[in-house]
Subunit: 281 residues, 2 copies
Amino acid sequence: MFANNSNYNVRPILYYDDINPHSRAVLMILNMLDVDIELRAVEMIKGEHLKPAYAKINPALTVPTMVHKDLIITGNAIFSYVCENNDNEKANQLIALKCYKRHCCVLSRLFFESQVLHRIHGHLMTDLVRKTIYQTDVDYHQKKVEHAYDVMEAYLSDSQFMAGSVLTAADISFVACLGALDMMFPIDGDRKRWEKLNDWYRRMRSLSIQKINEFGIEKQRQIVEYFAKFQFKSDIKRFTTGLRESQIPGFPSRPDRCSVSIQTVSGAEPTLDILSIKNNI
Amino acid sequence: MFANNSNYNVRPILYYDDINPHSRAVLMILNMLDVDIELRAVEMIKGEHLKPAYAKINPALTVPTMVHKDLIITGNAIFSYVCENNDNEKANQLIALKCYKRHCCVLSRLFFESQVLHRIHGHLMTDLVRKTIYQTDVDYHQKKVEHAYDVMEAYLSDSQFMAGSVLTAADISFVACLGALDMMFPIDGDRKRWEKLNDWYRRMRSLSIQKINEFGIEKQRQIVEYFAKFQFKSDIKRFTTGLRESQIPGFPSRPDRCSVSIQTVSGAEPTLDILSIKNNI
């Protein structure tokens, strides 16, 4: 699309936090496309994204943010940017640059994720962390989440993936968010109502990049359980790692917000180096 | 971008409701590009977007939805679709197809609108309509809205428009939402804090397409005031029309949700025919 990209040979920087679904989705895409990038962690639980240093980069204070030379890209626009910058077969498939219909479909799905799915996720997680499980209107949230599951089931009604017959950025974007919602409201709780969604999620979980997702979801689960004062109903065994016990005691009862500056943790994301995308999707 | 578009000569259909900012923004873009389209009204206040007939078209139940032959496009993806389908100078400017940096910037802004601005707007309006002004936490909403104003002020820190030096779809998208928020929390309430935003809004309001926006905002104001049991503080004179008195008595005290089928009102949007975009932007 943009042949004369002067930024092509400059290493981009990604400000991210893998407790955040958008960050996980971008990390998965970067891994699939084998993009060389500098990772800078922004610990949202410590309020680092609310600090003036981060606001200067991205005044909307959303995470992740990609900085590539003098360009600043935010939100799901990062998918388009990364794919257009890596003009190969895999990138073209992910954002469907060569197929008119699927490109429009992928964009529509990414805007659904931003406008609806991410909002449902954010509202639920914020309520759990701020109000604990006891003050959260779980029925309200369940209704919203189940509506989102119904929408995704409908998207799969006549195709194998969220935006057609092949895996795209829409699938990656959805699975990052769904993985967190599924902890609270497991989609296998109603295999008939969400039959295609269950099948899609099983296929998505078989991808090697899903390890990046699960690594972040596990962190997210620890944080939410700690502040919300409860344990998720979902398949705990799937997430149980040695990390859990050692990390939880580290959280103060009230996080010291905005107390830590943004630090470079380039190269500190081992999952990015050791994973490779399976070919059979 | 997509030269072989077989849908080019088929008239698209837009399901819309001009009480909804996304619909207003799309109507403004369509007017600017002089696109021939069939308009179908979806009365959200009557719950028409929640009916099975609409869910078959767009299971996410969001408004607007564009249907073009066998393509269904939703959310802010409609901007990209319409502009890419009208490959002329004005369309290229709006989505910045010929300029790498501004294209990424426009997309980032459109995702900010979906993820943050539209969410803040939706939450405020839903609370006002459902809870009335007396049960709405106005301070909470004011804080959120003012943050959005701060972000937009920052976007304008070194450029005349939201995504660079010329008007783009980002400006249209933002002004549709801002027009509604400004009723409740006028940006000229603090001309120093939002100096550039006030100047941008003044320029946006001088465009002839703003009449489409104001027509919808007026409807939105009537509905919200009626259900929220109060009058907005903003410049009421600007919005006072003969319509107001005659429409308010028409609303039942509790709207009969899902009782009306989707009806074609093609050609019933007079503002679309009589307006033309000014050249001096």
